[in-house]
């Protein structure tokens, strides 16, 4: 026993599983090139390989797998939107998430918590009522709750915030959180098992366009030709689209978040306040995850500012005054690609073999399974499924927007 342990300890060949394959050499051609190795890219690759038999796929990631906005969000999964088209899409994503650990045989640490959105004014109460009714109409559970019910759901919440007492709220029982790394790892592992190539530290530096087709994708490790190219680069959508000569209706802002040191579990639901620009949840580790609104001006920079962190802390303290003694353990920022209607851009581009998965603002993580599912179907059938039809880029030309500004807690 002792010798076996010693032998194991000194051995150079640990029997550790290498689930994510090392980056292979680039081939000269792929049927599908996915630019961006985050949750959406991995999800798309998985669905193409699993359901549509397309296996000659390369995911090109400039950094490491899931190191971008997949690692920088606050992992909220919910479907309480305003427009029926969005509710149906996000509800589908929520259903896929509920079954995802089984589907991928990989633990997502999916945890159904419920989300409480607070109202501090009559105007917000009306918009919450609209969201509740719209959700219920589409078969998604939503409920308007009063102060007493809020107290029962979150006993530690301060209902009488000075100047803006809590009037009521929207209760969304199916909202959940999941481990963000596990989502992208799970998809990538199962995609790679089916023949997808994951190329980490492979930065796309340019693309050649001939006529209405992208013919070559140029990277820092060599060029490849591609049948179809899809961009899944949250945070850099405009930059990558510019490589093929496209302009998008996107403006990029940093969004800052932070976590406190871990404490005993006291907060089961996620709590978000539109008026305070703040949302809080307690992670499985016991840390309080605190997120807020985007920075006030456009930036491609993930630096943090004291002003934003101070305002996050101030809002969190208004809701939970007793957390004043807690220390901030980590803080970070992600880049959010904001669209004019706070809805994503999925589907075709003006180029015939270039597809978009962009404009994921502050709502990308919750859509990871559904965006991959529907986009894979669209690419394989060369026909846009009804579910993502409303989110195509040409909606702006038609002035047919899917307005979800009121349904994102972190609105400006």
């Amino acid at each position: 026993m002792v010798f076996a342990l010693l032998k194991y300890g000194l051995s150079k060949a640990y029997p550790a599983r290498e689930e994510i394959p090392r980056t292979p050499d680039l081939k000269s051609h792929y049927d599908v090139v996915i630019v961006g190795g985050g949750g959406h890219g991995a999800s798309l690759a998985y669905h193409l390989a699993k359901h549509h038999g397309i296996k000659n796929i390369a995911i090109l990631e400039k950094g490491y797998l899931g190191g971008g906005n997949t690692a920088r969000n606050t992992t909220v999964i919910r479907s309480n939107y305003t427009d029926q088209r969005s509710i149906r899409f996000y509800a589908r994503s929520l259903r896929l998430y509920e079954a995802l650990s089984n589907e991928l045989d990989y633990n997502m640490m999916y945890s159904r918590r419920g989300q409480l959105t607070l109202s501090h004014s009559d105007g917000v109460s009306r918009s919450l009522r609209l969201r509740a009714d719209a959700g219920n109409f589409c078969g998604e559970a939503n409920e308007i709750v009063d102060r007493k019910q809020i107290k029962d759901l979150v006993p530690s919440l301060n209902l009488d915030i000075k100047g803006m007492p809590i009037l009521g709220g929207l209760w969304h029982p199916n909202a959940a959180i999941a481990r963000h790394d596990a989502v992208v790892w799970g998809y990538a592992i199962r995609a790679c098992e089916r023949g997808v190539e994951l190329h980490q530290r492979t930065e796309v530096v340019g693309m050649d366009v001939v006529g209405d087709k992208v013919t070559r994708v140029r990277t820092n490790r060599g060029d490849v030709s591609a049948g179809i190219v899809v961009q899944c680069v949250a945070g850099y959508s405009s930059v990558v689209a510019k490589m093929v000569g496209l302009k998008l209706p996107i403006r990029s802002y940093p969004l800052q978040a932070m976590v406190t040191h871990p404490i005993k579990p006291f907060l089961d639901p996620m709590v978000s306040s539109t008026a305070l620009h703040c949302y809080i949840s307690q992670s499985a580790r016991g840390e309080l995850v605190i997120g807020g609104s985007s920075d006030p001006y456009e930036l491609y920079n993930t630096r943090s500012t004291l002003e934003l962190k101070e305002s996050l802390a101030a809002s969190a303290l208004e809701m939970f005054p007793f957390i004043g003694e807690l220390k901030v353990l980590r803080q970070w920022a992600g880049i959010t690609d904001m669209t004019p209607d706070y809805s994503p851009i999925m589907g075709r581009s003006p180029l015939s073999n270039y597809w978009l998965d962009a404009g994921w603002g502050t709502w990308g993580f919750k859509a990871t399974p559904a965006s991959g599912f529907f986009l894979a179907k669209a690419i394989s059938d060369n026909r846009i499924p009804e579910e993502i039809q409303p989110f195509q880029l040409d909606r702006f030309e038609r002035f047919d927007l899917v307005n979800e500004m009121g349904a994102t807690a972190a609105s400006h």
Binding site: Y236, S238, V239, K247, L248, P249, I250, R251, S252, P296, Y297, E298, L299, Y300, N301, R303, T305, L306, E307, P340, F396, E397, F399
Partner: protein
Amino acid sequence: MKIMTCPLNGPRNITEFQCHGEVHQQPDPATTGDKEWAAYIWMSNNTAGVVREWWCHTPTNFWFLAERNTMTDEILATFPIPADGPLGEVL
């Protein structure tokens, strides 16, 4: 605290200012097609690098132009709106 220099009021805390987006030229509504007009309304260069933008000092409602690097978060220059001549739009 980040400082921005207002051409009228001098160096002030950046929280006193509002950014109103990139300077871009409005096409002539009389001769512009729907597609181009939609592009003018919605599309954005969203440049990663040096941009030229409209800013406003909120307390005094003074509008001016600024050049800023969106990669490094540096304000390179601020200047009043030229009395005549181009604003330096990026198309």
